[in-house]
Structures are given as C-alpha cells and as structure tokens.
C-alpha cells in the first residue's frame, strides 16, 4: 500500500467535488482570464484522473493520453487563449446575459439534474456515479456557458468545457477510447480552436466587437 495507491484513491474519490467547484466558479467568473484559469484547473483535474485511472487499470497508453491532455488542455489551450485575449485587445469582461446569482443557481440545478439523469444508468453501466454525474454536469455547464455568454471567446470556452465533459464521460465509462482515436480527437480540437481564433479575428476586424449576440444580420 504505497503512497501512490492512496493518492490515486483520493483523486478518484474526490475529484468530482473539485470539478463541481470549478463549474460553480466558472459560471460566476467575471473576467475571461479567470475563466481560462478555471478551465485549465479543470483540465488539470481531469489529467490527474486520467493518470489515476491508468494506474489503477494498468493501462499503458493511459499515461500517453494523460500527457496529451496535460499538454493540450492545461498548457497549450490556455496559453493560446491568453495570447488571443491580448491580441484581440477587447474588454476583458464576459458580458453574461444572466446575473452571477442566477448563474450559480442554474449551475447548481444542473449538477443536481446530472445526478438525477445518471442515476438510472449508474447501475446498468456499473461506473462510479459521481464521475459520470460530473461529466454530464460539465456538458450541461458548457452548454449553459455557450448559450448565456455573449462573448465569442466565452463561447469557445464553453465548447471546451463541453468537450471536457464528453471526454470525462468517455474516460469514466470506458477508460478512454483507442489511442489513435483519442489523438485524432485532440487534433480536431486543436484545429477547431485555431479556426475559431481566426474567426474571432475576422469578427473583430469586420464588426470591431466580439459580441456574438449582435451578429444578427442573417435571419429568417
């Protein structure tokens, strides 16, 4: 019973709490930079869990994946985001369409919902319920962020959170997909973000604001 085992046990048992924490903080975050930091923290937690799972299940490739996750989601993407924020020189606030209090309550409701949703499948799939619940909660939060935040950047972030959720779900239920697929998915995410970056620049250049709720020329 080495230290590592204990650590993994702790991680696996308690990470979902941290995730919920990040969620609650994310929805009240006022500044984009805060949100980004929270996101990277979230990704870090997930990385930890990847490694823990890999260690417990004795999955060699899990370490590779963990490394990838860390590299991309904890380091690369946040940095890219910060660069973006600097280069875009836009006001740093997130322009929420809901007040922080509402957001918190909605987020709490969603967490509860996710538990409720997962409950039925919990037994049938035989996975740690709170893990799956956390995943679903992440998905919902991502969706919520995308719908309620007017800033293009925040929408991207929301998408990432959503992605995180899906990934987490995959991880907890199936200990991850075949390696090639994982890599492909990460690759896609990266390219996607790159493109979104390009588009944010274009939006900034053509509309000189980043408020997607104002992009309403095409309708009907």
């Amino acid at each position: 019973m080495g230290l590592v085992e204990i650590a993994t046990g702790k991680v696996l048992s308690s990470f979902s709490v941290f995730l919920f924490l990040t969620i609650l903080l994310l929805v009240v975050a006022r500044r984009i930079s805060t949100a980004i930091l929270l996101f990277s923290a979230q990704s870090a937690i997930i990385t930890a869990e990847v490694l823990a799972t890999g260690f417990r299940e004795r999955l060699a490739e899990a370490y590779v994946v963990g490394a990838l996750v860390f590299l991309i989601k904890v380091v690369l993407i946040p940095r890219a985001f910060f660069r973006l924020v600097d280069r875009l020189k836009t006001p740093r606030d997130v322009k929420a369409s809901t007040t922080p209090t509402q957001s918190v309550f909605i987020a709490a409701a969603m967490i509860y919902l996710s538990y409720a949703a997962v409950h039925s499948y919990g037994q049938s799939v035989r996975v740690p319920e709170d893990a799956l619940a956390a995943a679903v909660a992440l998905i919902l939060t991502g969706a919520f962020l995308m719908v309620s935040r007017n800033k293009a950047l925040m929408q991207m972030l929301g998408l990432l959170v959503l992605e995180n959720g899906i990934y987490l779900a995959a991880l907890t239920t199936t200990y991850g997909m075949p390696l090639v697929i994982e890599i492909g998915i990460f690759f896609d995410i990266l390219i996607g973000l790159l493109l979104m970056g390009i588009f944010t620049f274009r939006i900034r250049d053509t509309f000189d604001h980043l408020d997607v709720s104002k992009l309403r020329r095409l309708r009907g």
């Binding site: 039925s120 499948y121 049938s124 799939v125 998905i139 969706a143 995308m146 293009a152 929408q155 998408l159 959503l162 992605e163 899906i166 779900a169 995959a170 239920t173 199936t174 997909m177 075949p178 090639v180 697929i181 492909g184 998915i185 690759f187 896609d188 390219i191 996607g192 493109l195 979104m196 390009i198 588009f199 274009r202 939006i203 053509t206 509309f207 997607v212 992009l215 020329r217 095409l218 009907g220």
Partner: protein, 484 residues
Amino acid sequence: MILLLPLAVTILGAGFVLCFRNPRIATRVALTVGGLEVASLGAVVWRVHAHGALQAGRYLRADGLSSLFLINIAFISALVLVYASGYLRHMGEGRFSSPRWFYALVFLFLFTMISVCLSANLGLLWIMMEGTTLASALLVGFYNTEGAVEAGWKYLMVCTVGIAFALFGTIVLYLAAVKAGMNPAAALDWAALMNAVPQMGFDPNLVKLAFVFIIVGYGTKIGFVPMHSWLPDAHAEAPTPISALLSAVLLNCAMYALIRYDAIISHTTTSAFAHTLLLVFGLLSMIVAGLLILVQRNLKRLMAYSSVEHMGIIAIGLGLGGPLGLFGALLHIFNHSVAKSLLFFSAGNIRQNFGTLRMDGVTGMARTLPQTSTALVVGSLAIVGLPPFSLFVSEFAILSEAFSQAHYVLAVLFLVVLSVVFGGFAYHFIRLLCGEPNGVPANSKLIPSEYTVMGIASVTLLCFGAHIPHMFTIILQEAMAVLR
C-alpha cells in the same frame, strides 16, 4: 491499398495547389487533380463493384453503401471544380482568399468527406466528420464579408457543438459494445458491430441513448429541424461552388454517418425506436422547411431550405425502410445532389450577372439570361419532384412505401408539403423569370465551363428520370444490401 489512393490524391493535391500563385495555373492544376481524384474514386467504386467490400488496414473500408456515396462525391465534385474554374476567374490574390487557397481548401474538404465514406472505424468517422466542418468553415467565410464571417462563425459553432454530441453518442455505443463483451479494439468498427449487435445482447437503453445523441449530433450536420439553423446562413454566404458542395455532398456525408448507425442497430429491438425518430425528424424538417421556403427573399437561402426539406424526405425514406423506401431514399440522395447543384450553379450565374441574390431584385430573367433561366427552370422542376425528372421517381417510391405501410397521415402530410413547396418555387421563380427585365446582366453568355456543367446535370436528371442506368441500379442494390 487502392482505398488510400483518393485520399492521397486529394490531400497531396491540396498541398500541391498551394504552390502556384498564378490563378490560371492553379486552376489548371486543380482541374487535373480533380480528374485524378475522380478517376481514383471510380477505381475504388469499380473494385468494390467487382470484389465486394474492400478493406485497407484497420481503419479503412469500402462497401456498396460507401461506393454509392463515393460516386456522388466524384460526380458532384467534378461538376463543382469545373464550374469553379469559370466562377473564380475574376478573383484576385488575397490572404486566404485566392484561387489557390480556394482549391486547397476544397481538396481538404473533399479529403475529409471521402475519408468519412471510407473510414471503417466510427471514431475515425467522427474525426473526419468534424474535419469536414473545419475544412469547410474557412470556405464558408471565404469572402470575408460581414455576412460571410457571421455565417462562418455560426456554422463552426453550431456544427462543432452538434458533432460533440455525436462524439458522445459514439462513446455511448462503444461503451455498450464493450459492456456487451466486445474486444475494445473492434468495438468501434462498424462491420464488426453490425455482426456483433444481433448476437450479443447490447443494453437497449444504452443503444437508444447512443442513437439519440447520434441523431442530434449528425442531425445538426444533416440539417434536421430544429438543428438546421446554420444551414441557410452557410449556404447563402458561401461562394456558390461551396454552397453546391455543402448541400450536395456534405449533407449527404452526414446522412451517410447516420445511415451507418442505422444499419448497425437495424437488427436490434432499437431499430423501431430509431426509425420513429427518423420519421419524426424527417417530417418536421419537411414541414418547417417547406413553409419557410414560401417566405424567403434570398435565392440561395430558399435553396438551402429546400435542401433541408429534401434531407427530411430522405430521412422519411430511411425511417420507413422497406425495399421501396430504402431504394427511394438512396436514389433521392443522388438525385437531390444533382438537382441542387444545378440550381446553385444557376444561382451563381445570377449573382455574377446581377450582383444580388435577392429575388425581388431580379425580374425578367427569361429574356436577359435565357440559358441560365433554362437551367433554373429545369432544376426547379426537378427539385419540386415533377416528372420526367428523376426526383419524381424517388419521391414516388418513398410515397408508395408510405402508403403501402398504411402511414396515411404521414403520406398525406408529405403530399401537402410537396404542394406547398411547389407553390413556393412557382411563386418565386415565375416572378424571377417573367416580367419586365430590370438591370442589364454583366455577361448574358455562358462560358463553356458553365454550360457544360449545367448541361451535364440537366441531362443526368432527365436520364435518371427516364431510366436508371443498370450499373447504378446494381450499386443501389449493393447499398441496400448493406442496410438489410
């Protein structure tokens, strides 16, 4: 190994085209690459036709269904490339917006779509599907105008989100497979799944969950109502060849993915659920799109909605299943692609000649642009499903399937929507074609590339309406065999 050929051609071609700054040369190169791509696809199809399903490594496979879609891709992409060669002739050199970039991105786009149809692994399928979004997003925003950027952003966001759900669906199916005791390595291979699903009892709840996410996810890409919102914007704002590619190939590729999943679960108890879902989405899309067609002002938006409507028709065909339904659906995929690209081509000419796509801005086309308006009339007659054009045949098949399965309500609604759509088209296009000509077209004569393309498309429509070639019917049979 032959499966790698088209992929290699397209991806290398994409890189290769980028090397030529001179638009004219770039165009020539693009055309040659296109020719190669079509040839290689033809080879693949032929091999499939000759030796049945092909396998290349663990991740690539082609069978009857794939070859049907490959034919579609080959045909449309050929048309589009030729058309584009004429369409882009006035385009200068700009950052990301120059012929070479255009062609490079188009080939990338084609690459992703071909690999969607060739991938043997659902994960890979998903990756490539996401890839199509990414490859085409820049093309949608190609013009860099306000509208283009906005449309591009929406396209990117909406489709990525949708696709993300599709990923979740994939994962759930994978989970179900693994839980049912499949080897995780093979648990994403659709062939293996199709064999496995009937024998080992998958958890029906999980399968249903998977299909819900899949249909919402890929449905976003297909353009099912209410996930269709990106579609009109993207089609309207993209350069015309791209609009054609989007609605004639991309939607079909998404449909292909859906069909794959449908085929996998078609032998389980879940298939009934899946088919009901397909019918619901199909009917919803038909009705909403059909109504929206009535009140459109922009030509290409109108066509986009009609694409939504036709995707709905195809979905209904699939949902009905049965020999006639599947036949109709698969045939309709091809027919719709041809007719729709023809329509988009003529729309492109209109835009180039009058500088607008607002339908109230153009009248009396019949006099000023005789050839284009002929193409427009042919295309629209075909798209509303009137004989002697091929869409009549496929819709006829689907409809008769609906009636013979005694889905009377569905069938009647189907008919009503068709009439409404007909009304919309007739209303808009009569006003477009007749009346006093306003505005002088820039160049009323078509250049060879344009009229060859349009001619080919129209003739194809007519031929398939009169009699479906033997070769094609065989391929259809093979495709249907996959689904049963």
